[in-house]
Symmetry: C2
C-alpha cells in the first residue's frame, strides 16, 4: 500500500450498520426513527433551497445555536454543533485529551470510541460493565485524561441515573466527563441541567434518533463555555463550515416543533414496552431499555442464527460478533406494524429452529 501513512495501514475503521441497496428491508438495524421528520422541518428545507446556497453558511452557526440554547435554557456560548454527533465526539478527542493518560469508557459501548483514539494517536482503557451490563461508576475512579459514557448505553440500552453521573462528576474533577445522550429522549433524563454546575461536564446529542433526521447529519454538545471554546478551536483547525445552510434550517425548525417530537417519542416508548413483553413471552431475555432499541438474547437459539434468518426474511437487525455480546441482537423499535411483522417472523423462526 504505497502512499498510505502508517496510521492508515494500522487503523481499524468503524463499520456502520448495513444500509443495503439490493432490496426493501424492514430496517431495524441502525436505530433510525420510524416516524418522519416534522412537516415543518421539511417545509424549512424547501424554503432554504434558494439562491443563497451560493454563499458560505455562517461558520459559527449562530442562529442554530440560538435555537438550541433557547430550547434548553442555556447560554448560546454553551452550544457546539457538528456534522452528526460522530463528528462532535471525534473532535472532542483532540480538544480535550492528552496522550499521557488513558481515556476511560466501558468495554461494551459505542464501538466508534476506540477508533477515534487511534485516529488522534491517544490512549484508552476499557472498563468492564458488570455481569448485568450496568456501569459501576466507582470503577472509573482512576487516573485518566477523560471519561466517556453513553447514557443510555449502546448497544445495551441500559440507563444510568443522573444521581450516579453527579457522583462521577464529583470525584473526577480534574478531567472532562463526556455523556453521549444519543438516546436520552426515549425515557431518560438529560444531564444538560447539570452543565451550569459542573465545568467538567459535556453532554452530546444528535438529531438522528428522536428528531428523525439521520439523513441530515446534525449533532451538538452542551457544556461550559470554556469547553465549547476548545471544541471551536479544534473545529476551526479542521473544517470552517461543517454545518451547511439546509442542515441549519432543518435543525432550527426541529427545535421549534417540540410537541411533534414529544409525541413520536411517546409512541416509540409504548411500542418498546409492548415489544419487550412479547419478546419475554418468546423466551428472550431483554435488557431494561430507555432507548429506541432493545438488546435481547434467546434461551435456545443463537443470536447470529436469528440475525441471518431474519435477514433472509427481509428484516434487518444489528448483530455484533464481539466478546460478551455475541449472543445478543440489537433491535430498533420501529412502528407497531414493523414490530408486529418482526414478532410474527421470529415466532415462525423459533418454532422451526426448536423443532430441528
Amino acid at each position: 500500500m504505497k502512499f498510505w501513512s502508517e496510521l492508515t495501514k494500522q487503523i481499524n475503521p468503524y463499520v456502520p450498520g448495513e444500509q443495503p441497496q439490493d432490496k426493501e428491508y424492514i430496517k431495524l438495524n441502525t436505530n433510525e426513527n420510524p416516524y418522519p421528520p416534522s412537516p415543518k422541518v421539511l417545509d424549512a428545507v424547501k424554503k432554504a433551497a434558494n439562491e443563497s446556497l451560493k454563499l458560505y453558511p455562517d461558520p459559527d452557526s449562530n442562529k442554530l445555536k440560538q435555537s438550541i440554547s433557547e430550547f434548553f435554557g442555556v447560554e448560546k456560548n454553551m452550544i457546539f454543533t457538528g456534522n452528526g454527533s460522530d463528528e462532535v465526539l471525534a473532535l472532542c478527542y483532540p480538544a480535550f485529551f492528552n496522550p499521557d493518560k488513558p481515556i476511560l469508557f466501558p468495554d461494551i459501548t459505542y464501538s466508534f470510541l476506540p477508533v477515534f483514539a487511534s485516529l488522534f494517536n491517544l490512549n484508552y482503557e476499557t472498563i468492564p460493565l458488570s455481569e448485568d451490563f450496568s456501569i459501576n461508576i466507582f470503577d472509573y475512579k482512576k487516573d485518566n485524561t477523560g471519561i466517556i459514557i453513553a447514557n443510555p448505553n449502546a448497544p445495551t440500552g441500559k440507563y444510568l441515573e443522573l444521581a450516579e453521573i453527579r457522583q462521577l462528576l464529583e470525584f473526577n474533577k480534574n478531567s472532562i466527563v463526556i455523556i453521549d445522550e444519543a438516546y436520552i429522549d426515549f425515557g431518560g433524563e438529560s444531564a444538560i441541567k447539570m452543565t451550569g454546575e459542573y465545568e467538567n461536564l459535556l453532554v452530546v446529542h444528535t438529531l438522528s434518533k428522536s428528531r428523525s433526521l439521520a439523513g441530515i447529519r446534525l449533532g451538538y454538545a452542551v457544556g461550559n463555555s470554556k469547553l465549547i471554546e476548545a471544541l471551536n478551536r479544534i473545529k476551526s483547525s479542521f473544517n470552517s463550515y461543517t454545518i451547511d445552510r439546509i442542515c441549519s434550517a432543518a435543525g432550527i425548525a426541529a427545535f421549534k416543533d417540540s410537541d411533534y417530537y414529544a409525541d413520536i417519542s411517546r409512541k416509540i416508548i409504548k411500542t418498546r414496552e409492548y415489544a419487550e413483553k412479547e419478546f419475554i413471552k418468546m423466551d428472550f431475555k431483554a435488557i431494561p431499555s430507555k432507548s429506541n432499541f432493545l438488546f435481547v438474547t434467546h434461551k435456545n437459539i443463537k443470536a447470529e442464527q436469528l440475525y441471518i434468518s431474519l435477514k433472509k426474511n427481509g428484516i434487518l437487525v444489528r448483530y455484533f460478533k464481539k466478546p460478551r455480546i455475541d449472543n445478543y441482537l440489537r433491535i430498533t423499535i420501529g412502528t407497531d406494524e414493523a414490530i408486529d411483522e418482526l414478532l410474527k417472523t421470529l415466532r415462525i423462526i423459533i418454532k422451526t429452529e426448536n423443532r430441528d
Copy 2:
C-alpha cells in the same frame, strides 16, 4: 484553560473570510460565485426534502460518486467525497502523511494547510514562491512525505501549466502530490486527466466556487483507487456519514447541468478580464489570474487602507496581514454590476487618498 488538551492550547486555528451579519455588503471576500446554483439543483433539494430524511444516507455516497465519475470519465472507485474540500484536504493528512518527513507546500498558498498539519501532529516545510509569485517545481525536489499545490494558487490566482505538474509527478514518485483545484474551472486545465497515469496524483475539487454551492458543503477527490481507499479508511475512522441526503441530491443535479455552469464560468472569466484592465488603468498591478478572483496591489495606496475604506463603503474584499502579501487585496469576481460598483468606489477612494 483547564480541560483543554495541550494541542488545543497550542493550535492556531484557521480564520475564514468575514461573514458579517450586521448589514448588507457587496461580498467580494470569500470567492463565492455571484450567480445562483442551477435551478435543477434547487429542484433536487426540494425533492429530497421528504420522509426519507429519517434514514441515514448511504455512508459510501455511491450515487453521488457515480455521477462525478461519469462526468470525468473515470472509475467510481477513483472518487472520494467530503463535507467541503476542506474536509477532504484535512483527511488527506492522516491518510497519506507520516511525521518523519515534512509535507511541502508554497509559503504563500491556502492558509489552512499548516493548520491541518498541527491538528494531526505532522511536519511541514514551506517553499518560497518566486518574486513574481510563481511556483518553481524544482524547488520541491527534496525529501518529503507529500506535496500540496493549489492550482490556480490562492490567494495569488496564478496558474501552473499541466506540463510542469507532470514533471513534478515524474521526479516525486515516492510520495503523493495533491493538487487542490478549487478554482480550476475559471480558465485552467484539470490534472484529473493524469490520474489514470500517475498513482501518486490526487486532485481535490469543491462545489463551492464554479458550482455556486458554498452553502451546501461538498468537495471531492479524484485519484488512483488505492489512494481513495486510504481516504475511505480515515474517513470511516472519523465520521461514517459525512455527506447528507440533501447534499448528495444537490451534487448529483449539479453534475447533470454542466451547460448552465459552463455558461456562468464564462461570464465570470469575461468580467475578470474587464476588471483586470480597469484595475491597471487605476495604477494597480494585477497578478495574471485563472481563478474567480484578482490579486492586486496599488502603486501608491496601501492595501490595508483600501480594504478599510472599501468596508466602510459597504464592499468587502479580502486582506491578509501576512509577510510578502500584506500590500495586496484579493478581490472576488462578482457580477458586472458588483464589479462596476467596486471600481466606482475605488476611483473615488484613490482620488481622495492621492489628494491627501
